[in-house]
Amino acid sequence: MSIVTLQLGQSGNQIGFEVFDALFSDSHCSQGLCSKRENEAYQASCKERFFSEEENGVPIARAVLVDMEPKVINQTLSKASQSGRWKYGQRSCFCQKQGSGNNWAYGYSVHGPRHAESIMNLIQKEVEKCDSLSGFFIVMSMAGGTGSGLGAFITRNLQDQYSNSLKMNHIIWPYGTGEVIVQNYNSILTLSHLYRSSDALLVHENDALHKICAKLMNIKQISFRDINQVLAHQLGSVFQPTYSEEGSSHYRRNPLGDLMENLVSHPEFKLLGVRNIPQMSEHSLAYSTFTWAGLLKHLRQMLISNAKMEEGIDWQVRPPLSGAPTPGKMPVNKNPHFNKSLANLVILRGKEVHSADLGGFKDPALYTSWLGPDNAFNMWKTQRAFNKYEKSAALVSNSQFLVKPLDMIVGKAWNMFASKAYIHQYTKFGIEEEDFLDSFTLLEQVVASYRNL
């Protein structure tokens, strides 16, 4: 089943390109560590999901590119076709001549309605090329102007027009010390609108990716390209083919559907985070070997302690002990650093994947009381190695990862709102104070739900 990707705005397009490139490179990588037949099946599965075929054989990404200015889109298109290995469809782009000046309300209330029809037509053409549609993957930033406002509007349109199809929004969480003054307003408006019309919100934090580049990849001058490549590697390790439930004879056909069923079945809990291990520069990779036990131990601790990468993990954090708290002592459940999960999905790729022991992730103490590990924990795997890593593990988690960052953004936005700073920029284009209040209410509710897990 195929996934149609919608790349919105500058970051959406840059990231989208890196993702398709990573998927393609991996599927054509010669170091898959598996038989030729298995490799061919893997390639075919990846191709069905993300690329369509053209007469001269160059695969075309199943994507629609949207931006309000032409520069980034043109760069993206040319980068893809220059490689000669895959490309974007010639008619799959929509862009205008002027930008939107980082104004969310302009993107939502003006660009959205004005251009929705053309954009939805492009999406429709892309959908018709699919024999079967698994769902939509929408890549956008949260805090910018075009990507976020327009993205929120388009997602709502997708909800109306393709109500039975799955929608996952991939969101870039901005740097804590961002340059845009109104980024917190944009963020809460985007999040609240997406929460209503999307099925799942997969979040990547710029701060975390930046640290990975610095500490793990040892990059001195970190560019957006480096960050996006780390991101693409993480997404690739989630979305590349894995075996289906019936066993290793077939690859899973509907990864988006299976992922959502496993992780976001409760309508109040839609925020997902991704962690990946190991992550290192290609140079270091040649000199490293790993065991599943070691990788999984680190991944589990990353989950519990809310670490973003495998360096600097806080090993002191433990899950709370089960059983009634003894009188006179501190209530055992109040462990402020422990990251409680609602549901987790672990994806293993590489050598001897059948020998990996995931008992640590099935511990009921990791999960909330009303959803036991039988329902809450799932595992996907394949023998085929990913991106030259002999063994790699990814974790997609619906947990308290984002409670603190979300709470912080809501707090800052509220402080600004209390003094009505910059509100006129929004009310000028039809986003009223009530819309802000609705957004605050919804996000407060989300924060409270996650806190009470």
Binding site: M1, D131, S132, L133, S134, G135, N164, S165, L166, S192, Y195, R196, S197, N254, G257, M260, E261, V264, S265, H266, P267, E268, S369, W370, L371, N375, L442, Q445, V446
Partner: protein, 423 residues
């Protein structure tokens, strides 16, 4: 018990009975050997399990899956007894047979012949296992819903059920439904492609193109051989059924002797004396009717006493709860009445009986003169009206649930309901 009268060509021919029984055994699915039938006349215990299994197979609803077929003999025997009772089978001796399926082969033989005589039994069984070559539209096969289904294993909730957990399960169900929709759309798209690519390949020009099964036949010779084998065995069964219909008179005469071999029933209140004898005329039923009426009165008295006792016990638990329950009963009665009215309306609106039976999908050129059979537009219309009925029923049920929730919430002071975001 009505019985078809056939010209008495073969009546009395001594060799005709084994052949008739052999034909019946070949025509039935999972038919027991003719030897089993003979043993059953003498109530031999070794014949019983095969007959229990046969009755289970014969009475199961059309879409019963493999899991139900592999149930233990005990479960099958219990189910057969219940199904026969539902259909009105009169002999209580069968109901009193032990559940372990070890006895009663003669009673089972009688039950089988009762089913055979009552209404067409072989035809629907044969239709069920027809080899289907075309791509079918499954939506219009009625009767699948009407038959009594096997009770699904019930999961008892131990302890209070968390509302959050239920929401999770509901969400999971919704996702699975959406994935199913996507799969079905994929199937339609691929079917369309196959039909389009194989245009002009079919020897029957009314059809014009191949179905999936026929395409597979061409692609995979081994599959073709298997299909041929299935067609051959279906032919054999059809031939056996024809032979049975020619010879069955002999079987009924033999069944009379089987009945005669039964010991007289012990005097029980609900066992009419005239059943085992000859001459199944209406007059023989009067004592049966009288006995049944007496039994019914007895049952009603017993049920009334039990209900009063239970109501008294329940009343101790809280007056508002039993009042709510009575209100719920009243609401149920109203709901059933409304649903019947809606069904009647829909039937009239839909222009009478809906399309019915298996339909093969055939793709034609746009604007080509229509052949026999249902057009897509009509099929879509019929499905849409059915969808409208079901949606109306769903809305009603949802409204009822909402009212019930509001009632429960109102009963608990200080409780706030906050609906989830969106919709």
């Amino acid at each position: 018990m009505g019985r078809r009268r056939r010209p008495a060509e073969l009546a009395g021919a001594a060799g005709a009975l084994p052949e008739a029984i052999a034909a019946l055994s070949r025509a039935l699915p999972a038919g027991p050997s003719p030897e089993t039938f003979r043993r059953a006349k003498f109530d031999r215990p070794e014949a019983a399990p095969a007959l229990w299994r046969l009755l289970f197979r014969v009475l199961s609803p059309p879409r019963a899956d493999g899991a139900s077929a592999s149930r233990a003999l005990e479960a099958q025997a219990r189910w057969v007894k219940a199904a026969l009772l539902t259909q009105g089978y009169p002999r209580l001796r069968l109901a009193r047979l032990p559940d372990d399926g070890s006895q009663g082969s003669r009673e089972l033989l009688l039950a089988l012949s009762w089913l055979l005589a009552r209404k067409p039994l072989l035809e629907p069984l044969l239709a069920r296992t027809r080899v289907r070559l075309g791509d079918e539209l499954p939506a219009f096969e009625c009767g699948a819903l009407a038959s009594p289904s096997l009770p699904a294993p019930r999961l008892e909730a131990d302890g209070p059920v968390d509302a959050c957990h239920l929401q999770w399960l509901m969400g999971k169900l919704r996702f699975r439904w959406r994935n199913l929709m996507a799969s079905q759309q994929e199937q339609c798209a691929l079917l369309g492609k196959i039909h389009m690519y194989t245009r002009g390949c079919h020897s029957d020009c009314r059809l014009g193109h191949l179905s999936v099964a026929e395409t597979e036949l061409l692609r995979d010779p081994e599959g073709g051989r298997q299909l041929l084998r299935r067609l051959e065995s279906e032919n054999a069964r059809l031939g056996a059924a024809l032979e049975w219909w020619r010879r069955e008179l002999v079987f009924w005469q033999w069944m009379d002797t089987v009945l005669g071999a039964c010991p007289p029933e012990a005097p029980q209140p609900a066992c009419p004396p005239g059943l085992g004898g000859r001459g199944r005329t209406a007059g023989a039923w009067d004592p049966a009717v009288w006995e049944l009426q007496a039994l019914q009165e007895e049952l009603q008295a017993a049920v009334g006493a039990r209900r009063a006792a239970w109501a008294a016990r329940v009343r101790g638990q809280g007056p508002e709860w039993s009042a709510a329950r009575q209100a719920a009963q009243e609401a149920t009665r109203e709901a059933v009445g409304r649903e019947l009215a809606a069904l009647r309306q829909a039937w009239e609106r839909g222009g009478g009986p809906q399309p019915h039976g298996p339909l093969r999908l055939v793709r034609t050129e746009a604007g080509a003169p229509g052949g026999p059979g249902l057009r897509a537009v009509e099929a879509i219309g019929a499905l849409k009206s059915r969808e409208a009925c079901l949606e109306a029923a769903l809305h009603q049920l949802q409204a009822q649930c909402r009212q019930q929730l509001a009632r429960l919430a109102g009963a608990l002071p200080g409780l706030l309901w906050i609906p989830p975001p969106g919709r």
